[in-house]
Symmetry: D2
Subunit: 135 residues, 4 copies
Amino acid sequence: MEQNQHQLELCVRDYECDLQGVVNNAVYLNYLEHARHEYLRQKGLDFAALASEGINLMVIRAEIDYRGSLRSGDSFIVQSRYEQKSRLKFLFKQEIVREGESKALLRAEITGTAVNKAGKPFLPPELALLLDEKE
Amino acid sequence: MEQNQHQLELCVRDYECDLQGVVNNAVYLNYLEHARHEYLRQKGLDFAALASEGINLMVIRAEIDYRGSLRSGDSFIVQSRYEQKSRLKFLFKQEIVREGESKALLRAEITGTAVNKAGKPFLPPELALLLDEKE
Amino acid sequence: MEQNQHQLELCVRDYECDLQGVVNNAVYLNYLEHARHEYLRQKGLDFAALASEGINLMVIRAEIDYRGSLRSGDSFIVQSRYEQKSRLKFLFKQEIVREGESKALLRAEITGTAVNKAGKPFLPPELALLLDEKE
Amino acid sequence: MEQNQHQLELCVRDYECDLQGVVNNAVYLNYLEHARHEYLRQKGLDFAALASEGINLMVIRAEIDYRGSLRSGDSFIVQSRYEQKSRLKFLFKQEIVREGESKALLRAEITGTAVNKAGKPFLPPELALLLDEKE
């Protein structure tokens, strides 16, 4: 896999399904966040440790296209790709693909930034690690 | 209020806040969904009853701009405006405004459709009630 | 209402229902917690403010009897009664009653304690306010 | 492992932590439910399939002792043990143990029953599979 990509395999938990019998639309944001945090953790960036130092990564825009539904018993992969969007913004392009399928059932673009202890926007330099060409 | 608008007042529940001490980004989708369903219910459309008849309203696209954060103790209003986007798609333009403020801290455009028992897209005619000029 | 009692009226939100079409068993703990925190807030005790000072109220035991199920569209009342159980433990006896019914569909006993900045158990003296005979 | 036991390894997801920085008390019920459903699935019992046939497994009592807290980054094991409590009731004794520790940080006893299409309590005979001495 390329350096700026990450994959996480998960399975649907029954409590994540709503009365329509499918995973509720808000739960996909939980999946996407968890995948981003695992990706960061793998690169040495710990979301909770940053927060306790007063450095808060935050989502500023989310665009999500829902093209299918996950159901009880489904396994799936969350694919995440990191891009630096500007000096102060980063972008995760994420897809959710059901196991055994090739077409994404959800596509998302999540734009984020970070705020430091002084409340000023800034990007932790470690985020650049997600772009490194070699590990 | 105009016919195709709805307001719902809510307050943050502490369990909705995450380790950063603010409402988690996914929870806003819960708020937005709840506001839409209350709006529909007020017009006589019951999401759960429709689901049990095999008619499933579903979100197909969500665009959310996060411009601020709700915290423990905050009260806020979810404003929703309904538009018919095309023969098979509807659109809710939604905003979240903290009590006592005028500027929205979140803006969303939620596009939806519905699928009938046969699995075919169609819009329940009752949705037109959200557009009626007089009640 | 007696001094050491509190009532909170809520309604079911559709995303709280699971694939059985009823409120998921874990969600009732959210309702119970929210009612306790509102009760504390009404007495001048702010759960989030305490946490930011390093004073963490925490549940150490929960006993819950589920005798019925809430569904989409239901309104209900959470009744909470506070008791001091020992020098270091407090107890909330809580019930959930559907609107228009008299019998509780859920009964819970939630035992808690608090830990201070030094990690030692202690009860914030303000909790005694929940027992005061006169306000 | 004995026949009537099951283990599931999970890790904390950051959105499951609340403003105290630890996993919220209600989320443990999600973990316990997910472990029970995986256990049932492994024995050939599908919670969602049963629900769609009108057979609803339900929790009627939960007793939970919280002795410690999970935090961001923690991995843990949910251990579940099945017992038939009476003709119409089953019991799961469950424990949560943080990776690398031996003492449970949470112990729970979850009593359940099932209701058939006619709304009458009954236990699906397949549950006996959780007690079989040989597979």
